[in-house]
Amino acid sequence: MLSWKQFLISLTGSKVENLSNVHMIQKILIANRGEIAVRIINACREMSIPSVAVFSTVDRNSLHVQKADEAYCIGNPPPLESYLNIGKIIQVTKKSGADAIHPGYGFLAENPEFCERCEKEGIIFIGPNSKALRLVGDKVESRKTMTEAKIPIIPGMMSSGKQTKGFKEAAEKIGYPVMIKASAGGGGKGMRVAWSPEELEKGVEAGMREAKSAFGDESVYLERCIEEPRHVEFQVLADNFGHVIHLCERECSIQRRHQKIVEETPSCALDEKLRAKMGEVAKKVIEVSGYNNAGTVEFLLDKNKDFYFLEVNARLQVEHPITELVTGVDLVRQQIRIASGEKLTFTQNDIQQRGHAIECRIYAEDPENNFFPSSGKILFMKEPSGPGIRHDCGIYSGCEVSVYYDPILSKVITWAETREDARKRMLLALSNYTVLGIKTSIGFLAAVMEHPEFIAGNTQTSFIDKNMSDWKGKRKERRFVNEAIIAAAISSSTRPTSRKRLQGKQEMPSPWLTLGKWDLGGI
């Protein structure tokens, strides 16, 4: 086994024998927006690879456009006319001379037609091959493959439907509660739990609508709803030569609307033995799918530590940074190197988890109003920084958060020696994170970090419903109400501040005083 230092050297220096089939990518078009586009652009810059951004008309001022080397407008704000417009994206790729496309997550990342089109056009798709992508993307097809390979899966429908008929019988057979899932799904979209036949009908209908709008395919299927589960996933890397390694787990049980908001690694629920066992199954899933590049194998882990394969996320995950922090592997760089035809320069034995990492996703949404998305102008923001704090960010002071896209703004990731230290560091980071003008989940996430059940590591997927549903009430007990009121009063008052006073300046108009005219109550 390599020492940590040797391991780092092996990550950064390619061995000569690896270079024979390598055609290092020359220029990368990033078919995405927001924080993930910025993340990929930064990796390109570090690797001295020019980057090309694409944007919809509403994103002209977005951060990814400012960060890339080149940027081209690809259409109107609705995703189908821009970030999902395959023809236009291919056209811009060719025009810009890019030889590779990184799809990020969401949008076209797991679209086999897009991947096939890239292959046909001779453009490197930084992700899996289209055949594997098609297989793992079809949840029903992949269930069959996994059953044959003796990978444990959750009992459920072996086919999906576009009509509500047939679902009732299937649900009876599987047993309530059942989970309704989009066949082409991901990110919790189109996903619902039904506890009764009545809920099933309504849920299937709504699930189909959401699936249609999010993925262009309304097919949904059912599976048994595992109660009190944890969501544990394994990061894998597979090169084009059949070498597959896993980079340990991420636990992503804290979810709202079936979408992850807090992730951590290692998982409190895994010991060395279970980790090794699940990791081997994850590698097998990748092998039987003929999958290459970076991917994530998702499992549900139940109370009895039995685990079930859920799906392969055939993309770079939102939560990839926590794996990067505990393993020291830069996943975006690895993706680019694998896509360039390099062999993996390290083996399973080189992968060690060091310390603990937590990620909090910052969404533009209102946790007090059922996490309803919030849009508008960010009047001011200040980002957290410090030892062990990473901030992957797609916003800036003055930017507009539009209604057209997923409301993720940024991610705060902290690393420390232990879980408790990483948790406290996250609290520090969140308390130093200011976003004014729109609603965000920052305060809610801080409350999650401070919850006794989170501290104890009791993180099941029901965490938010079980522990946080009364948060709105608790919000009234916020600690700094008095200070906020005092600051507001001072900003409204026409008195000079102490600093101005000490400097001996008279009634200088300051931004605090000229921000607005207030109708003051009788002086």
Binding site: T440, I485, A488, P511, I523
Partner: protein
């Protein structure tokens, strides 16, 4: 100087006096000695009874957005006259018999039609915003009086989508 500030439906009364380089603030009957210093356009350093706080502030549409140690606040200033007015307003909003989206979005499905009897809390319309479907519920018990949009229409925040005649 006397002030009334509204923070999330709660009104606080303040007396603010500036003397000898400090603010003397009486907030809801409690005295605070405050030293205030401007750090930058959006940042204020406070020493409240000796304790240090960094406050970030921005303003838009007559509202103040503040952040203290990661907690966020939306504060509005009221005068004595419109305290009563705003009180009536806010209770008016709660009772207003319409279904409206809290943000711009697209109408996906109308769940009721004109003349339907609806219960308080019953789903009236599904609106999609930022790729999420949201069910807008009826704020009152009553009868559907008017449906102003059809599926596929774009709606603005607070635009009435379904209007209800409340049951007396």
């Amino acid at each position: 100087m006397e002030l009334e500030l509204k923070i999330e439906d709660q009104i606080h009364k303040l007396q603010v006096e500036f003397k000898e380089g400090h603010y003397h603030i009486n907030l809801d009957g409690n005295e605070h000695l405050v030293d205030s210093s401007i750090i930058s356009d959006h940042c204020l350093s406070l020493l409240v009874n000796g304790k240090t706080f960094t406050v970030y502030l921005a303003e838009a549409n007559g509202k103040k957005y503040l952040s203290v140690a990661g907690e966020q606040f939306l504060i509005e200033e009221t005068t004595s006259e419109n305290v009563a007015g705003s009180g009536a307003d806010s209770s008016g909003i709660a009772e207003e018999p319409v279904a409206a989206s809290p943000m711009p979005g697209k109408v996906v499905k109308i769940l009721v039609s004109k003349g339907d009897k609806v219960e308080k809390g019953q789903g009236l319309v599904i609106v999609e915003a930022m790729k999420m479907e949201n069910e807008i519920k009826s704020p009152v018990k009553g009868t559907v009086e008017k449906v102003n949009f059809k599926p596929g229409d774009l709606v603005d925040a607070a635009q009435p989508i379904v209007e209800i005649e409340p049951e007396a």
